[in-house]
Symmetry: C2
Subunit: 241 residues, 2 copies
């Protein structure tokens, strides 16, 4: 079995002054151990450089960092909006933690310069955002929850996120799919209907999104709007947009 990264002392690649300085600048503090940050910056495409098993890369740290990020954002929203319900909090979080935001934050931080990868951003859109999540996982393992919370609050929320503006931004899955349809001359239709949930006995909306006559996404929600958003979200995934 692999040794846990938390216990690991050996680095994955030689540490030079350049790496040490840049990572310290990005983090805003001096790491205890560098190995975990190196691992956070190794994309899967470069894994074969480090081991025959191709298992030295940042996907596990990304899994951890994604969860830590979600919970720090959850707390931030919980404390910032004492008068708003959990539907609002959930929506706000998904507006904050999305691929575009994470990518932008990663680029502004200069994370792209440190990533070890055989890809470029053009071929893999999640590359930088995923590395940022992995970095969050690394900070947590190296320095604990309090430190990673400060990092996320200062580097991500305060610098990059305008909460008041986000409140007014519509989650835009539906707009995105409609725009895609217009651009590519695809006929897009939604069919929505109200049902009574078999489980909760409450009314729910079910929405189907059709491209020409083929269903490419379906979703549910407490309102027609929410159901259409969910159907659009799935369609975007299914169509690889």
């Amino acid at each position: 079995m692999l040794r846990s990264i938390s216990e690991r002392k050996r680095n994955f690649y030689p540490l030079d002054k350049h790496f040490k300085r840049q990572i310290k600048e990005i983090l805003g503090f001096k790491p205890k151990r560098y190995a975990v940050y190196q691992l956070a910056l190794i994309h899967k495409s470069a894994a074969s450089r480090f081991s025959k098993q191709n298992d030295i890369h940042n996907e596990r740290l990304e899994f951890l960092g994604d969860a830590i990020l979600d919970s720090v954002i959850a707390e931030h929203l919980y404390e910032s909006y004492p008068g708003r319900d959990e539907g609002f909090l959930t929506q706000m979080r998904s507006k904050i933690v999305n691929r575009e935001t994470l990518r932008n934050v990663a680029l502004t931080m200069g994370l792209d310069k440190l990533i070890v990868s055989n890809l470029t951003s053009d071929t893999h859109i999640g590359l930088y955002g995923d590395a940022l999540e992995a970095l969050i996982g690394a900070i947590y393992l190296d320095k604990g929850y309090g430190k990673v919370k400060r990092f996320i609050t200062q580097k991500l929320l305060q610098k990059h996120i305008n909460l008041n503006k986000l409140i007014e931004t519509e989650t835009d899955f539906k707009s995105r799919i409609i725009e895609w349809g217009q651009k590519n001359r695809k006929d897009i239709n939604f069919t929505s209907q109200e049902q009574v949930s078999a489980r909760t006995k409450k009314p729910v909306f079910v929405s189907h999104l059709l491209v020409f006559d083929e269903i490419v996404g379906m979703g549910m929600g407490k309102s027609k709007k929410e159901a259409e958003q969910n159907a659009s979200k799935q369609a975007i995934q299914m169509l690889g947009l």
Copy 2:
């Protein structure tokens, strides 16, 4: 604006010895402030007892606790399985954090005796598990991340979860939907096809689940099996099973 629960000193309902003793027993420690635990145990159905705005209930804390729980479980799995990839970790987490497990843990803890609700479990299956998540949010706010991590590890993981057994358990969305079909004489079919993702240029599987000839769920995955599981998961949601 409502005052943040973290700053709140006043209780939501009178504290009696019984409540104090029971909550202490459930938590395994003495709370600093009781109000946040009271709030965690108020179901939405009873909100009107506490305010005209119906906003005194545990849904916001459930949002917070759900995220905290996810990240504690993520770390536990990350450390427990250094040799396994993020797909395995993700799957294991969803096997641990599901409605049935949370409900069982809540009931074994005796949380049901403290819940303030106008419902019974029969009419709302998430009642107890949701309260457990809210309780986790409350512990975090009252005592911090280290304490809630210990609570989850000791009360949930060590007592209730057999990780080795879970590894062998199949995520059973597909079996569940097929069983439902057999019981209710519904003709269930899967159609799956391999595609190349427009975004990542990698092969993906897309699966549709049909009840008679109607699509009730669709899903994607790196394998046919994963795509069918995802389609089944959506179908279970869409059909309210």
